[in-house]
């Protein structure tokens, strides 16, 4: 398996080089470290958003799901459309306001709009707490793939350690710019890797078309909802779509990527690009259902992809694909580590402990936050495996709750802090209760986060209406800004129309 080890080292080495090149371009300000001075180019921005959004959950989880649950993961095609659409509708406005009022974190936006320290703290806490378990899953998944690719030469603890070490070094030196640049490499391997290996592997049974007809003959139950166990029907279909799209969109790593963008034009093209890359899920369909035919009975479904690839593909190519899987985990976790350290530094350290901290000091604090945070996650990955998947679902559900106050801020003038606070507490609360109290099943088979969103919305609207409106000055300031945004969007259209005439 020396080819595998070689590819892994190459794979760990290249990001380091790219990280140092990126660092050389930095101007050492904290804004550069956190959000690249709002100056990120469109290509880098697209790849870093797409690769960040494309995590282990998609790379390993999609295969596991098709292999055991039938077609429910096909809902991913819809969630990419939804995610892209919201990135245009919500993301562009958040970017605009961020530029105007100089926001760096999600709490900056929420705290300022709702004019409340409490909202600020709750939002900061939600994004930090719910990112940790999700991060841990990425790291476990990535380390696991390195272990398999190396044929067991690199044990899990060392794989996880290498994984962290590389990420820490290049994030430490290069900040978000290094992440975006490495994400370009990760993204490319990822998108082509999965699709190509799907086509390659399905050739085992005579190509995609004959794979489907073979499935129809042997295992028709895999081709329709609710799948072979009858467990994954419509309620899973819609829960997965909504919770994943919203949870990912509202994660702190994606917020930073909205602020960092230089040119608003990117947001206009993003829906198309994000929807388009969903085509890679076809790779998962081909790999896992060929697996159902050729390799039934794999016990740990998360291993379907690595096992199929190592079994049926040439060594070097297979290792490259698995490295792509580790890339999926890396490109998500590097952004998460960076985003959470930014939140801790800006929202907690700078705001409450040392408001007069110099720029240099801020960058330094956030670097140490990265280090400490990663060490905690490393030990959690080593010693608390297993229950993570359950916690991971809560993680997405938790950040997804932020969509309610965000939409409120962008589209509803009457919304206020009490509404946002009670909505968030109620939504997160009911979700945690439904998930963790044994014997309590979520009604209708919907994911607990869906009930969280429902309660969140109801409380948000009801409490907002029942309590006093926000301070008039703040309302006016935002009103003006959003009005300006709207005019800007429409005016330029007219200018263009005139040009066209």
């Amino acid at each position: 398996m020396s080819a595998g080890v070689f590819i892994i080292f190459l794979f760990l080495f290249i990001p380091l080089v790219v990280g140092f090149i990126a660092a050389a371009r930095s101007n050492n300000s904290s804004s550069d470290f956190f959000i690249q001075g709002r100056n990120m180019g469109s290509v880098a921005a697209f790849f870093t958003v797409a690769a960040t959004w494309w995590s282990s959950f998609a790379f390993l989880g999609s295969n596991a799901s098709f292999y055991t649950e039938g077609p429910v993961y096909l809902t991913a095609f819809a969630w990419n459309v939804l995610f892209g659409y919201l990135y245009y509708i919500v993301g562009k406005r958040v970017w605009y306001l961020g530029k105007k009022f100089d926001y760096v974190t999600p709490s900056d936006f929420m705290g300022d709009f709702y004019d409340s320290e409490k909202v600020r703290i709750i939002v900061g806490a939600v994004v930090t707490i719910f990112t940790i378990p999700y991060l841990q899953i990425q790291l476990t998944g990535g380390a696991y793939l390195i272990e398999v690719t190396s044929g067991g030469v690199i044990p899990f603890w060392l794989a996880a350690f290498l994984f962290y070490a590389v990420i820490i070094v290049y994030v430490w030196v290069g900040g978000i710019r290094a992440i975006a640049w490495t994400d370009i490499i990760y993204g490319a391997i990822l998108f082509f890797g999965l699709l190509l290996s799907g086509i390659y592997i399905s050739n085992l049974v005579g190509g995609p078309i004959s794979m489907f007809s073979e499935m129809q003959r042997m295992h028709p139950e895999f081709l329709t909802l609710p799948g072979p166990d009858g467990a994954a029907g419509f309620s899973s279909w819609i829960s997965l779509c909504i919770v994943t799209a919203l949870g990912a969109l509202m994660g702190p790593q994606l917020w930073l990527r909205m602020y960092a963008v230089k040119d608003g034009q990117l947001f206009n093209l993003m829906p198309f690009l994000i929807a388009l890359v969903a085509v890679t899920y076809l790779g998962s369909v081909l790999i896992s259902w060929t697996g159902v035919l050729e390799m039934p009975g794999i016990e740990n479904a998360d291993q379907v992809l690595p096992i199929m690839v190592t079994e049926f593909m040439p060594l070097a190519l297979g290792a490259l694909i698995l490295a792509g899987g580790a890339a999926a985990a890396m490109s998500t976790s590097n952004s998460q580590i960076h985003a959470v350290s930014t939140v801790i530094t800006k929202d907690f350290y700078q705001r409450y402990k040392n408001p007069k901290a110099s720029d240099k000091r801020l960058t330094k604090v956030s670097r140490y936050a990265i280090l400490i945070f990663s060490i905690v996650a490393y030990f959690m990955a080593l010693f608390v495996p297993g229950v993570l998947v359950a916690i991971g679902l809560v993680a997405f559900g938790g950040t997804a709750q932020l969509i309610v106050p965000t939409l409120g801020a962008l589209f509803w003038k009457r919304s206020n802090a009490s509404g946002a606070i009670s909505g968030l507490i109620g939504g997160v609360g009911i979700m945690v209760i439904l998930t963790f109290i044994p014997g309590l099943n979520s009604p209708l088979g919907l994911d607990p986060a869906m009930w969280g969103l429902a309660l969140n919305t109801i409380l948000f609207i009801a409490v907002s209406l029942a309590t006093a409106p926000r301070n008039e000055k703040v309302v006016e300031r935002f009103d003006k800004a959003l009005e300006m945004f709207k005019n800007n969007e429409e005016e330029t259209q007219e200018v263009n129309d005139e040009k066209a005439l």
Partner: protein, 72 residues
């Protein structure tokens, strides 16, 4: 006037595509037969509406969204 209408059209089309995919309507397509282009019908259905939305996004960008002067 035409301007306004086409704006609404793109949003409506995308939302229509999502409705076809994410409401119980999808259960009507929850069959293997008829196979289309060798794809089981459910898969064809999902791919069709996904492609529909993707193309709408592209047209919207070319015709409309991408024509906005960039705000920097």
């Amino acid at each position: 006037m035409k301007n306004k209408r086409s704006t609404v059209f793109f949003h409506a089309a995308v939302i229509f595509g999502l409705i076809m995919l994410e409401t119980p309507i999808v259960l009507l397509a929850n069959n293997i037969e008829p196979m289309i282009f060798g794809l089981p019908f459910l898969i064809f259905w999902v791919l069709f509406w996904w492609l529909f939305c993707t193309i709408i996004f592209l047209i919207a960008y070319i015709k409309k969204w991408g024509k906005k002067k960039s705000i920097r």
